[in-house]
Subunit: 366 residues, 2 copies
DNA sequence: TGGCCTATTGACACCGTTGTCATTTTGAAG
DNA sequence: CTTCAAAATGACAACGGTGTCAATAGGCCA
C-alpha cells in the first residue's frame, strides 16, 4: 500500500518551533533596537541605508512577519481593508474579491468582506460601525454603493478612507477618489458592432436605475445611433432591471412589435440571457433572425447557445488597482507624505461571439 | 484616459478616533476588577451570579465590545475563522461565504476568506502559516480540500481546528468533524426521474476525480439503473471534468453513437451547459429529442433555454451550519467542556425544469 | 468561636508592536 | 578642532485585554 509513503507532514512539534519570530528576535540578531526594526518595517524615513539593509536581511532570514493584532492594538493605524458590495452577480463579486485580495496580500493587509443591502437607510451607520469595530484602514466600495452621493459624503465626514469603483466616462473630479470604468464607451462599441452588421432597428433593455452604469450604457447606445444617423425609436427602448426576467419580458415586448428589431442589446448578460430565452421560446433563430448582445463577459455568455457577444470588464484588475491605490494612499498619508494620486480609468473590451450576425444572413439549413 | 487631474487627498492622521469603551471603563463602573469583567465576557465559571449581572448591566449600558486585537494578542484564542476554497464556481462560493459569514457575525467572529490551489503541494504549509499569521481560531474547508486525507491529517496533527464540508452518503466516522452532503441520493433521484420519463439509454458525464462528489454522483446513477433493471452500458459513461468544454466534448461523443442516448445526465450544471450547447449546435431539440439534467441549481440552470432539471444544494445553509458547529466546538473546547458534536447530513433536492421530458414526446411544431 | 475548604475576586505581569521623547552620532560650517 | 543642527537610534511606556497565582470571602462543621 501507499500508506507508508507519507508526504511531508508538519508535526505539532515543528509547529511549536515555527512560532513566529518577533520584532525582538530580529532586533537582537541585527544588533539594533526594536524601534529601529519597527522603522524599517514601516518604511519610515531617517533610517540609515546601511542599517535598513542589515535589518532587512534578518527579517528575510527569519521570514519575520509583524503581528497584525499587536500592530493594530498599539497604533491608530490598522492593516485590513473592507470590501463593501451588494450585487447579486456572483461572478462579478468573485473577481472583485480576487483583485482586492491580491492587492491586500502583496501589501500585508487583511481583508474583511462585507456584503450588504445597498438600499438600507442604516447602511452608513453600519459601515462606520464596521470600520471601527473591525479596525479597518479603509473601504473599497463597489457599485451601487460607490455611486450614492449621500453615503460617500457621510463616509468622508466620518474620515473613513475609501476608494470607489464607479461607472463613468471620465474622472468625475468630485473630490473623492475613484477608479472609473467607461461603460458608455463599451456600449458604444457594442452598438456600433451591431450597426456595422447592418442592423438599423436595435432594441435596448435598460438595467437598474440605482447603478450609474445603466444610464452610461444607454448613452453609449444612443450616441452610436446618432453618430450613424439612425433615428431613435422610443418603442425600442425598454426600462427594467439587471435580471433575467426583465430581459425575458422586455424581449417579448420588443418581439411582439409590428416592426420588430433585428437586434437587441441587453444592458448585461443576465438580461441578454432572458432575451435569448424569449427568442428560443418564440422559435426565433439567434443570430440569424435576431442578434443579441449583452454586457459583462459572464460565464453564462460563454456557455449559452449561441455564446453571447458582450463587453469584457477587467473586474479583477480594476479591483486590484482600486485596492492598491487605497493602500498606497493610506501609507503615504500615514507617513505624512502628500496624497495626490490620480484617478484612473478602464475601458471594457468588445467580445464578439455567436449571438450576433449580419442582418441579411439567411437561416442555415440544419 | 490616464492623464486625469489630481485627485483629492484623504487625510487620516488627523482622525480623532472615536474611542469606544474599554474593559477598564466597565470595571470601574461596575466596581469590580478588570479581570472579573474579563471572566464575564468569556463566560467563565466561578463568577457570582450577582456580580455577573452587575457587570453585564454595565457592558450593555456602554455597549462595550472587547477589542479582538487585544484579545488575540494576549491569549492563545482568537476570534476569526478562515474559509478555504478552490472552486471555479462563483455561485457556489458566494453562497458558501454567505453562510459562513452569517454564522461568524452572529457569534462575533471575523472571517478570512482564502481562495487557494487545491493541487498545490505546499497547501498544507500555506494553511498552517495562514492560521498562525492571521491568528485564526479554525478553518472551514470546502471540497475538494476537505476531501484530501493527507491535508486533513496534517491539519489535525498541527492541532488546527477545522470543519469539513464533504460529499458523502453518510457520516464517514473517520474521527474528523464534517458536515456531509448526500450527492449520491440526489443523483439517484435525478436518474430515477429520467427513467420514469421513459428513458432507458441515459448518458452520464463524470466530474473531476479530485472531488468526492464525482464518484458519489456516479454511484447514484449506477444504483438507480440497477434498481430499475437497466443494464449499464459503458459506452454511455464518459469521464471528464466539471467544465463546459468537457460537457460539450462528452456530449458530442455520446450523440455520435449509433444508438445514441435519449437523455444525458451531466455531473454539474456547467457540464450540462456544454451538453445543451452540443445539442443546439447539432440541431437536436431539447428536451424533445434529448433530455438533459445537471446538478447544482446554478443561476445558469434557470437562465438557459430550456431551463435545466438539476439538484438544489442548500449551500448557504450547509455552510452556515458548518461554521456554527465549528464555533460552538471551539467555545466548548475553550471552556473545557467536552466536544462531542454529531456530524450532520444534508440532501440536495430534485428540481425539475424544462430540459427533461418524456422520451416519447413528439417535437412540437413551431 | 475557630478551623478548614472552596468559591470568588483581584494584583500584576505580559502579549508584540508603536508613539514619545531623550540621547547619540554624523556631517558641514566656522 | 569646535560647534551645532540634523539625522539616526534607543529606552520606555502604553495599547486592551488575559494568564497566573495569591488573597479574600463565605459556608460548613466540630
Amino acid at each position: 500500500m501507499r500508506e507508508a509513503q507519507a508526504a511531508p507532514t508538519i508535526t505539532t512539534h515543528e509547529v511549536q518551533r515555527l512560532r513566529s519570530a518577533t520584532i525582538k528576535d530580529v532586533a537582537e540578531r541585527a544588533g539594533v533596537s526594536m524601534k529601529t526594526v519597527s522603522r524599517v518595517i514601516n518604511n519610515e524615513p531617517s533610517v540609515h541605508e546601511r542599517t535598513r539593509a542589515k535589518v532587512q536581511r534578518e527579517i528575510d532570514a527569519l521570514s519575520y512577519q509583524p503581528d497584525p493584532s499587536a500592530r493594530s492594538l498599539r497604533s491608530t493605524r490598522s492593516y485590513a481593508l473592507g470590501l463593501v458590495y451588494d450585487n447579486p452577480n456572483a461572478h462579478y463579486i468573485i473577481n472583485l474579491q480576487r483583485g482586492v485580495l491580491a492587492a491586500c496580500r502583496s501589501s500585508g493587509f487583511g481583508l474583511q468582506i462585507h456584503p450588504c443591502d445597498s438600499a438600507s437607510p442604516k447602511l452608513a451607520d453600519e459601515l462606520c460601525t464596521l470600520v471601527r469595530r473591525s479596525r479597518l484602514a479603509g473601504l473599497v466600495l463597489a457599485p451601487p454603493m460607490s455611486e450614492q452621493p449621500q453615503l460617500i459624503r457621510t463616509l468622508s465626514e466620518a474620515k473613513i478612507p475609501f476608494m470607489r469603483i464607479i461607472s463613468a466616462r471620465q474622472d468625475p473630479q468630485d473630490g473623492y477618489p475613484c477608479v472609473y470604468v467607461d461603460d458608455r464607451d463599451a456600449a458604444y462599441a457594442i452598438t456600433e458592432h451591431l450597426i456595422q452588421l447592418g442592423h438599423q432597428r436595435i432594441g435596448f433593455l435598460w438595467g437598474g436605475r440605482e447603478h450609474r452604469s445603466s444610464p452610461e450604457r444607454y448613452q453609449g447606445y444612443e450616441d452610436a445611433l446618432k453618430d450613424y444617423g439612425i433615428a431613435l425609436d422610443r418603442k425600442l427602448i425598454v426600462p427594467g432591471d439587471f435580471t433575467f426576467d426583465d430581459g425575458f419580458r422586455g424581449a417579448r415586448k420588443l418581439l411582439a412589435l409590428k416592426d420588430r428589431p433585428s437586434a437587441i442589446f441587453g444592458s448585461n448578460d443576465e438580461i441578454a440571457a432572458g432575451v435569448l430565452a424569449a427568442a428560443h421560446s418564440d422559435g426565433i433563430h439567434v443570430p440569424y433572425e435576431l442578434s443579441i448582445a449583452g454586457f459583462e463577459d459572464s460565464p453564462f455568455s460563454k456557455q449559452s447557445w449561441p455564446a453571447l457577444t458582450t463587453a469584457r470588464q477587467a473586474t479583477e484588475e480594476i479591483a486590484r488597482h482600486a485596492a492598491q491605490r487605497l493602500i498606497t494612499d493610506l501609507q503615504r498619508d500615514a507617513n505624512g507624505e502628500p496624497v495626490n494620486s490620480t484617478n484612473e480609468g478602464f475601458r471594457p473590451e468588445l467580445v464578439v461571439r455567436g449571438s450576433t450576425a449580419p442582418r441579411t444572413a439567411a437561416v442555415p439549413r440544419r
